[in-house]
Amino acid sequence: MPDQSREAKLSRAFVALADTLVTDYDLVELMQTLVETCADVLDVTAAGLLLKDASDDLHVLASTTEDARFVEVVQLGVESGPCWDCAATGRAVSVPDIEATGDRWPEFRDAALQRGLRAVHATPLRLRETVIGTVNLFNMRTGALNASDAAAAQALSDVATIGILSERATRQHELVGAQLQRALDSRVVIEQAKGVLAQSLGLSVDDAFGVLRSFARARNRGLRDVAAALVERRLDASAILEGAPSVSAPRRTDPRE
């Protein structure tokens, strides 16, 4: 009977996790769901999650207790500990008795024991060669995580990994999309500025562009900035023309010398 309820809980957990992935899901919510599910369904005291950012630095993103959070933060501070190793190698690290680890991770050992945590099992968030973080399961009792819990933790972590990576891909896509869109905005404001200059100075639009470009180059300003200033009337067209002689003046003196 207890086994059955565990299986049922686990199935529900997968459905809940998959649900958070469907539309417009929040990444923090997904990770909180993951650690709470682990703490609830598996035979552990607390669960926490470390995630790498764009520059590969690890951060504590979610934990079910303040103790778990503290022990994770300590590891990040000294860049050592089983969770740190798990993130570095992409392999699960199992520590059935923290007290028996000697001087392998002294800061981690002291912090964990101080908070009453006696065992930890770190599972990588990994897709093929890419490790993006770890899920850490803490216990107040010594002893290795049983095999079926370890497998369940890895399966839950795999689902979360896919969610996290797909969210990142979407965000990357949006960034590229927005950058490409900006090219249109730049061009439109430059065309508008050509019109402003052409009308103000009695030039053709092609000549107006030449004047605009010389002015921007001479002042080391972006074409788009100058164009926007003209269109929004923060810069007067006559200022562009007044600026022109000072641009060509040095060139004119050259032949005479």
Binding site: Q181, L184, V188, Q192, K194, G195, V231
Partner: protein, 225 residues
Amino acid sequence: MVGPVTAIDEGAALCAPFLRRLPADGLSIVVVSGAGAQSTVGTTDTVAARLDQLQFELGEGPTPDVLLLGQPVLTPDLRAADVRNGWPLFGEAAVAVGADGMFSFPMLVGVLTVGVVSMYSGTVQQPWTAAALQTAAGLTAAAVIPALELAARSAAQHERDPRARTAELRREVHQASGMLTVQLDCSIEESLSLLRAYAFAHARPIDAVARDIVGRTLDLGAEDE
């Protein structure tokens, strides 16, 4: 100068699969920025080009609606009463240029709508089947990044390629708008509105009106209202 030639072919290539696999007579693909700047990267024929132009002129039609809603806008019969109510000017104008139904789909990147694929048919159609809608959505999704890249590449050119087959960015319209801000001492937004109103009131394509202003054969400042 290989780039622009490729760009012209690419616009046509992006349109081709829609015509092959869907019951449409023609289409346009328009990329739109968050600030409202837009570039037509592909049109299959003059009807599609005119529908694109009309929507730009009037600010109404399926394209503005798709951009607002981020969802497909399907009007199998442009003569239907609700079309007249929603698009009082565009509905009639679209029928007059030869479209009887329109089917428009958002180009989505994550939560952003970055453009619209707008198909028309020259006959009144039954509503599209679920399979056709799915095909249209899939083809639209596949066109998003190539269309964005094409639009960005053409926007990076300082001059419009004279061989370009689409309205592209409507550069003359923006140049003319800039000229009008000086002539009439008004904002760029007011200039564009005025240009649109003038084109509609005189039943002339906005691109032609803009070309006349830029070429200085038309002076709206000198015209009596």
